[in-house]
Symmetry: D2
Subunit: 139 residues, 4 copies
């Protein structure tokens, strides 16, 4: 994909302090698809000791948002208008991986999905899916 667009996404990701707090890393950016990984930090747990839904949501939402941004010109940003998450299994293991996909690009609205996997003992398990709408806004 376009290198300037890729750099813009890495810069935007680096400007999200929440991603640093969660230890999340941007691992792959290609046209219409973005991958983010995060450990399950001791400070990101829910009451049963699994990763918090807020962690799963945060990286799933960000991966989806940046997947949308891959189709937009350099003077644009995206914000989440709405997104839904179905949580299918506890977030446990070494790390989480979120893969966001752009389903329908658009100037006014972009429709996106995300899958979040937990990696436990080296094995990936799908633990959540997201479906939502991103809105392009001037950067």
């Amino acid at each position: 994909m376009d290198e300037a667009k890729r750099i813009r996404i890495y810069d935007s990701f680096a400007a999200q302090s929440m991603m640093a707090t969660l230890g999340a890393k941007l691992c792959d950016v290609s046209d219409g698809s973005v991958r983010i990984e995060a450990p399950i930090l001791p400070g990101a747990l829910q009451q049963q000791g699994f990763g918090h839904a807020g962690l799963t949501f945060s990286i799933g939402d960000s991966a989806a948002g940046y997947a949308a941004l891959t189709c937009l010109s350099l003077d644009m940003e995206v914000v989440t208008a709405e997104i839904k998450i179905n949580l299918m299994a506890p977030a446990r293991g070494e790390k989480l991986i979120a893969v966001g996909k752009l389903v329908k690009p658009g100037k006014r609205l972009c429709v996106v999905t995300s899958e979040v996997f937990a990696v436990e003992n080296g094995e990936e398990k799908l633990i959540a899916i997201l479906q939502g709408t991103m809105v392009p806004v001037p950067a």
Copy 2:
């Protein structure tokens, strides 16, 4: 409401390390309604410097979950099966307030909603609404 149930919810909240990381506090627990407040910490921002959607989601989801838990017996917990958030305005100001409501109690599924407000210069503004499903599970 029942004091033992209230204590159980405070204990469960205290066990969520994510809530501590976000600086969130459980402020009010009554039958079918729970209020959580959180500052917008420097470590919980998105790329434009507003509160991250993951922050808004985390406290909105938790408030909704605990609203469901107020109707369940002491040997039960809840987990989020799914939840949707519509983000309507940037999260900016002194703090966020999430108010979760139990719409439909149930032994298998509880339907919940949440409203999240940003307080800026002392004024509350509705910035997000959530609608979702909580599942009772043995504690």
Copy 3:
């Protein structure tokens, strides 16, 4: 509310052949709130003999859409960008009532909710809630 806006909504409703097929009627239009009623016709059932989710959805979605339209100028229409429904009880009884509300007006996006009630032996029961996004488009 403005009479021309009200008439526009009645005209738009009348142009929806699906509403006629379902026997739905537009019963109340006020600023930010719209009420639609529909019988549970023999041709709108699911496999257990209750009203089909598609019926509940159709009137809930339409009520929400027209609630958004009450805030828009006469040269605009709305279309549903996305909407989520939680179904809480079977649709049974004499009729269904959908009440749509405009939560957040906007030129690009309107956030809406809807409640759908079933009336059985004269008693109203909340059977579904919806939360979604309407997009203004030129009429």
Copy 4:
């Protein structure tokens, strides 16, 4: 797949009078995947003359529900607990095709998705995606 399960799904579909009203047909049932097709009937339109969101929703929801049912024993049915639809393009053309998929089977909850395509001049276009939760209940 198991022939008794397939027959059960065809029987259940035939018992949905809403599907007959919409002219919908069950076209393919395999493990975890179901395909439903429907014409865009003159009685299923919205105010601009395109297929109504309620039509798109009805077949998308049914395809998703039956995809879940393919994994359940013969004494069970499913009902929709909740489902979300993103509408990406107008429903226009000769017919709509909904393909439901079972993402996560479960005894208490099944997570499902659906894609709905419009076929215009023989060309398929993705017009909507759905993501939701089905609940197994005794038949």
